[in-house]
Amino acid sequence: MALFSSKGKLTRDGFIGWFMAGPAMVLIGLFLITPFLLGLGFSFTNQRLTSPNPTEFVGVENYTRLLGIGVLTLEPEREADGSLKQGADGAISYPRIRNFTRNNPDYPYLEGMREYKSFTWGENQIFILARDVVFLTALVNTLSFVAVVAPVQAALALFLALLVNQKIPGVTIFRAIYFMPVVLSVVVVALLWRFIYAADNGLLNSLLSYMSFGLFQPVDWLGRTDTALWAILVMSVWQGVGFHMVIWLSGLQTISPDLYEAADIEGASRWQKFSMITWPLLRNTAVLIIIVITMQAFALFAQIDVMTKGGPRDSTQSIVYQAVERGYRQQDIAAGSAISVVLFLLVLCISLTQRYLTREKQ
């Protein structure tokens, strides 16, 4: 990575290197790393925000409470003669999970768990239990969110950047407009989108109904568990794409126009110019964008806090929202810190993988 790298001379610019990087490093160490380590320490205790009870060291209890998972297979309830017991609507009934997870001496490892998901296997019902269902849901939601947001937002941002990178009149205005949503506070954005997504007379429903000549039935976008997260995703992309467009733009600026002129002379098509000049030279920016988008997506919090508060029925829970909920609202700073540490490790693994996959092949 260094311009004049030569093995064995790593300390050549030692002094000046530390001098230039020093102030930033000290500040980061003091104000980002130290609190994080402090939080890490909290996660091994039962620290409350303020409490007259003394803080005790509890080891990994916060983590086991967070991540504990179990599996339970249940056979259906049967009548005395062995036939399947059926409810009024013909549904097969199974014994209640609570009988196994509360004070059942045969299943001590399931103590306190709740149902996360269940599915049928033949006659039996297989239950996946978790000690902290809300956190597990938040984890899955966040991962799904990131998996969709990262490529979609990055691609859309690149498209817009290419669009406004042209030297045609008025492009500055467009660039400013595309950036508008980023500038606005999340409060105004959330408010507007709540009106757009409203079930009765919401703007989106009205628009879709109009365009489909009345065929379209209004959907309660924020009220249905299967649409709420994606509604938030669309809003997120809409608000964040300008941010990344600007980053792509700065990367595009490092590409000399002479390259394009040369390509024009050789009669290259638009697609060829993009795929053979632009895209390869954007590699560094692309790495930056993907890493930043991924990290920002994992930090999903503000929109949920303002619009849905994790609902409906946990379908919009996110990891950071849970960390804040536990740490502040429920005043359990130790549990909140544990969630932060888990998040950190998760994202660390993912970004290390990303960096490995996108490393420069020398």
């Binding site: 609902g311 029925r313 609202r329 429920q330």
Partner: protein, 422 residues
């Protein structure tokens, strides 16, 4: 030389005189949650000025905070050991703050509180920690014309609707086809409103947020039969589309009843004045329905207390004692529309005096007001209950949801060693 000496002596004597006067007046800081509310600031400033000029021992200065940020600011200040002398606290949070060490008991003459509404007096563990100048109440807002048109009996305080009557009324209103929804419960307001407005329904069914004998467990009160009945009734409201659900937009909530899209509204008296302006004589404030255990509404609003780290609790308490005079209760009530804490003060207000438009709320508060559980655990119970109520409204299994909420609350109490006072 002598002249100089005399002048020097005089100057020294004068400066000593002034400094002693300055020393004698101690500064007290006061925090209030109402930043952005112009009327409240005016009244508070008036009270403070009156207090400051009525004696020379103490000088109170006010710092306002916005309501939505207030609790977090106080917590941060407590963590940093920078609490003010006087602060106000939302009623149900008082036990938690007292337990956490933010508040100390008040040093005021308790005889002065004899006529106060129960919701305006904050006691925990037999100690008085806070006192409020007003209380807030919730009622069913309705229009006489609408009820008459649909043949629905108008309930009174002595004869409120029973649960069945209430449900029948809702269904009739929904069936009339003239409204988007029969009743607006305010699901758009995802703050403390859920616990404040909906836990009384739970209590009316016979359930409770926590066992009120010992405050150690929620088993059987939050997940017992009565509670499950509440949950099923609650869920039915949304399944039958009688009320807008959790995705209600704030605009719909603020204008629905006023613009006639909702037939009834379950709402607090802080918007009563606005509704009165719109509907005048046609507007009715109806008591809560009785689901079996008596009709209940919430109680307890913002109250003043003294911080535990205050170096001058006597001064702080003196201020609070000064502020609870009837004339100030009346001023606040007139300005913000909430119920003054004493009936004598009520007579001095324009809304709550005999024959006043909001008079009924005073009785409502007195007869139906039920305090939210007086326990430090409430800070945890409230968001858990809000979530449970929200999930049930969205179709979750009632018994499981209530069971889970109960478990969470019990675990929290256990992890905090029962929230015992020190």
């Amino acid at each position: 030389m002598t002249t100089k000496a005399i002048f020097a002596g005089a100057a020294t004597a004068l400066s000593m005189l002034f400094s002693t006067t300055a020393l004698a007046q101690t500064d007290l800081t006061m925090w209030y949650h109402g930043a952005g509310n112009v009327e409240e600031r005016k009244i508070l400033a008036g009270i403070i000025e009156d207090f400051n000029s009525s004696q020379s021992d103490w000088r109170v200065s006010l710092q306002e905070f916005p309501q939505s940020a207030y609790n977090e600011s106080v917590t941060a200040a407590a963590l940093s050991n920078k609490l003010p002398d006087i602060l106000d606290v939302d009623g149900p949070n008082m036990p938690n703050w007292a337990w956490s060490g933010y508040l100390q008991p008040l040093q005021i003459d308790e005889a002065k509180l004899a006529n106060f509404l129960p919701g305006a007096v904050g006691k925990w563990g037999d100690k008085l920690y806070s006192v409020g100048l007003w209380d807030a109440a919730v009622a069913v807002f309705a229009r006489k014309s609408v009820l008459d048109e649909n043949g629905i009996r108008i309930p009174t305080l002595d004869q409120p609707w029973s649960g069945e009557e209430f449900n029948a009324a809702l269904e009739k209103l929904a069936a009339s086809g003239k409204f988007d929804y029969a009743i607006d419960l305010g699901m758009a307001d995802k703050t403390e409103w859920y616990s404040y407005a909906f836990s009384p329904f739970l209590e009316s069914f016979g359930g409770s947020l926590i066992d009120k004998e010992n405050y150690q467990t929620a088993e059987n009160v939050l997940n017992g039969d009565s509670a499950i009945k509440f949950g099923e009734w609650w869920q039915s409201l949304f399944q039958k589309k009688l009320a807008p659900g959790t995705s209600q937009s704030p605009a719909d909530h603020e204008t629905g009843f006023l613009e006639g899209r909702h037939a009834l509204q379950w709402m607090g008296n802080w918007v009563a004045v606005k509704a009165l302006e719109k509907y005048g004589d046609d507007l009715l404030f109806l008591p809560a329905p009785d689901f079996g255990n008596g009709p209940k509404i919430g109680a307890g609003s913002w109250q003043f207390g003294v911080s535990a780290t205050s170096k001058h609790p006597e001064g702080a308490s003196a201020f609070i004692e000064f502020a609870i005079q009837d004339k100030y209760l009346a001023q606040f009530s007139d300005a913000i529309g909430l119920i003054p804490a004493t009936s004598s003060a009520a007579q001095m207000t324009k809304n709550y005096k005999q024959g006043g438009p909001l008079e009924v709320f005073f009785e409502l508060s007195k007869r139906q007001g039920t305090l939210r559980p007086v326990t430090p655990a409430y800070a945890f119970i409230s968001p858990v209950f809000s979530k449970a109520v929200s999930d049930i409204a969205n179709g979750a299994d009632v018994a499981d949801t209530l069971d889970n909420a109960t478990d969470e609350i019990n675990n929290n109490i256990e992890r905090n060693s029962g929230y015992q006072p020190k």
